[in-house]
Symmetry: C2
Subunit: 179 residues, 2 copies
């Protein structure tokens, strides 16, 4: 509820042009309550937590393929799922995240949570620290590529298909030959 008011105001008056007090007033609560539910102003946009979703998609991919292909597939499928429903709220949040430097930075940093989720999704395949390191490297590469596609997608104002953009970007980074 608070988050909905926040994203609406951020979209209308800009992130920096909107104070937490404004959000609180719009939501009809005190600023204290906002901070109780969202530890920082940035979390009003960034509250994500779809790590488990990606992790289970990873676990569902066949173990024979190279890591980046498995992770890439999971990310493309997730993007397709997320953009399938006409979720204006999600789109508004993504646009804010990409266009606001502070939010973009924190979103990039949050990738390490997704990386951990991905490594966890691999289960027994990445137990020793060295394998985990290699899996983390692959995951970070895939997520960075996805972020690049996200930026491009936001620049195109969501007119192009996000999943296709991610596929293209993954192919450019990792090669499109079936290795």
């Amino acid at each position: 509820m608070i988050q909905a008011h926040a994203v609406r105001l951020f979209g209308r008056r800009g992130y920096d042009g909107t104070t937490v007090n404004d959000v609180a007033a719009a939501a009809g609560v005190s600023p204290m309550t906002v901070y109780r539910h969202f530890p920082t102003k940035e979390d009003l946009v960034l509250a994500d937590q779809n790590g488990p979703l990606v992790a289970e998609r990873i676990a569902a991919t066949p173990a024979g393929q190279p890591l980046v292909r498995r992770i890439g597939t999971a990310l493309v499928e997730s993007a397709r799922t997320l953009t399938a429903g006409d979720d204006r709220f999600l789109l508004a949040r993504l646009r804010l995240m990409i266009s606001t430097p502070a939010l973009r930075a924190r979103h990039l940093d949050n990738h390490h949570l997704l990386q951990q989720a991905i490594v966890d999704g691999l289960g027994d395949e990445a137990t020793d620290p060295d394998a985990a390191f290699r899996a983390t490297a692959a995951a970070s590469a895939c997520l960075a590529v996805m972020h690049t596609a996200l930026v491009r997608w936001a620049q195109d104002d969501g007119r192009t298909d996000l999943a296709d953009l991610i596929t293209t970007a993954l192919a450019a980074a990792f090669g499109d030959d079936p290795r």
Copy 2:
């Protein structure tokens, strides 16, 4: 000068535990002067600008190889150069950047500057928007992998060789076969 005092204090008392006033007092200037030279507290650690260095290394690699290999080579060489000299100041800054969430986030976001530098380093090879997009995707993937190596390196407290770590991580993400 101011930056040296800042990094020293941040290392000793922590980034959040040190105020800009503390830095100013240690450097013998007023807080105003600090903000005149460094627009934000974060810039006291993050003032980087080695984009041109990477760009010219990219331009120096043979155009026949795949993008990620050329970029990866440039990054490994840059890391080798940077860690060759026993630059305690650089090491302290890197450690701060990796271990402080706010700094790590901004450092990750700054990658888009390096990405632009890399694409620029490609010159004629990435003129049309589509080629630039593919190059950006490849660059972002390589930089993310490098960042993963950097995190691991900081965890090992700089005992392992950074260039070797980056090489290993690149191989894990992109495959070590000569394509």
